[in-house]
């Protein structure tokens, strides 16, 4: 087998692995639709090099399509069009992670600063510590740490039974 063909086979295998890592259901579909007998890294190549390239193409699309079908059955809201290609899937995943982070920031839980750190998150932890310490002094004992600390404009609040305790964000 030529080096070129070996790299194509490896690319197909890598693509499957990547897809399976992103969406586990695809991995199951890939196992069902093994494209070529003996098509495992390190095994002898098949004896039909003339049809290999179309076969690889069809197989790659079939596997992804099978995964999509499985996902569609398992998750009615699964958007097939948005993740048809492996690259799209990775991009989509990263986009959703960014959106989730933005939501976190909007909620005020923490923000990534210009150096990629989470200084506001540390500030939040200091506020929680201050609020809970104040709750202890007010006699809440073990309950001091059982109350969730919410964000408010400019700071944080713990709403206890008889007291609201505030700490400024800065």
């Amino acid at each position: 087998m030529s080096d070129k063909k070996q790299s194509e086979d490896a690319a197909v295998e890598d693509a499957h692995v990547t897809a399976g890592d992103v969406y586990p259901f695809v991995k199951q579909a890939r196992d069902v639709a093994q494209p070529v007998p003996g098509h495992v890294r390190g095994m002898p190549p098949p004896a039909a090099p003339a049809t290999l390239r179309p076969l690889v193409t069809v197989t790659r699309q079939s596997v992804v399509a099978a995964g999509d079908q499985f996902n569609a059955m398992a998750h009615p809201g699964f958007d097939r069009a948005s993740v048809f290609a492996i690259g799209d899937r990775v991009q989509d995943s990263a986009g959703r992670s960014k959106a989730g982070l933005d939501r976190f920031i909007q909620d005020g839980a923490f923000a990534v600063d210009q150096h990629g750190g989470v200084s506001d998150y540390l500030d939040y932890l200091r506020a929680v510590e201050a609020i809970q310490a104040k709750a202890v002094t007010l006699g809440y004992g073990a309950q001091a740490k059982a109350i969730p600390i919410d964000t408010v404009p400019g700071g944080y609040v713990g709403r206890y039974e008889r007291n609201d305790i505030y700490a400024a964000a800065q």
Partner: protein, 350 residues
Amino acid sequence: MPPPSKPAFEVHGEIRAKYNALGGAAGPLGLPMTDESPSPDGVGKFNHFERGSIYWSPRTGPMMVRGTVRDRWAASGWELGPLGYPVQDQHRMLLLGPSPLIEWCRFEHGLIAGDSRGGLPVPMALQAPAETLGRAAAPALLSYAQLGTLFGARLNAQFQADPNNVALRPGIELTGVSDWQYGFWASTPRSVGFRLRGFHDNGLAPDTNFVIDIRLRLELVWGPSFTEPGNKTLVAVLDQLNVGHDGGLALAQVYASVESGITHAFYGSSADPHDPDHPEVPSGAIYVTNVPTGANARTGEIDVLDVLVTRNGELQVLVNPLTPPQQALSAVSYTYLRQLGVQDALDDLV
């Protein structure tokens, strides 16, 4: 355990309820800067916030004060000063447009109005010598005795119109002034008490003599308005009424009839408005007089801010002490000028 690296402050009770009602940290006050603390007078409580304070006392309730008004109140000694505790949340004049900003807060014994140039108290006696600009005018007021004459005449007119052989005897006693009473949104104002005597002519039988004990609260009301109204209405709210035996032939139906007649004057027999000529008058109150405030929603000018019954039973009209927004500060005391003008109008009333 080491102390936390940042402070935390707590609010509770009535102050917490008022703070949350005003929007909490998202409202005008911002975040707490102190724990709830006892006032130096040993009676009240307070929290300071980023942009104001809430003061509570058992006789006034929790009230917000902020900005230049709070600064001037602090300069006068907070609740230990001549003004006492706030009795209403600070009011911001409703204007057409974003500026100028004029606010005022009524206290137990007076009022402070403020704009961006600072705050000034009224009546004038509460101002520092430098603030009076060397002039002095007595507060615009009706004395307790004048109020007695005013309401005695009103009740007498009602009795004269009654065909049931009842009449009031001349004279009216002043039975005292109550203190402010607790309120969450605003304290209930002081009420003034009066005692009147009357009789029912029973023909050949001895007269039935009765005594009326009545307490009234004097307040300004106004109809719905998106801006500060140019006219408000002074009303007398019935706070307490008792009609009892005062000698002669005891007839319970006479006492009940007199009490019913007076109550009817305050509540009417139909749903609101019970006074068709003055629909702004709430149930339980009677119209006393119209009060032009001089408010101009475009310029921010206003002459009359509120009324106040003092510990002596006087009805003071609290004028605006501030220089009009469009004019530079000068050697003119607007408190002086406005108090004189309002007193002329009050004199006409009696």
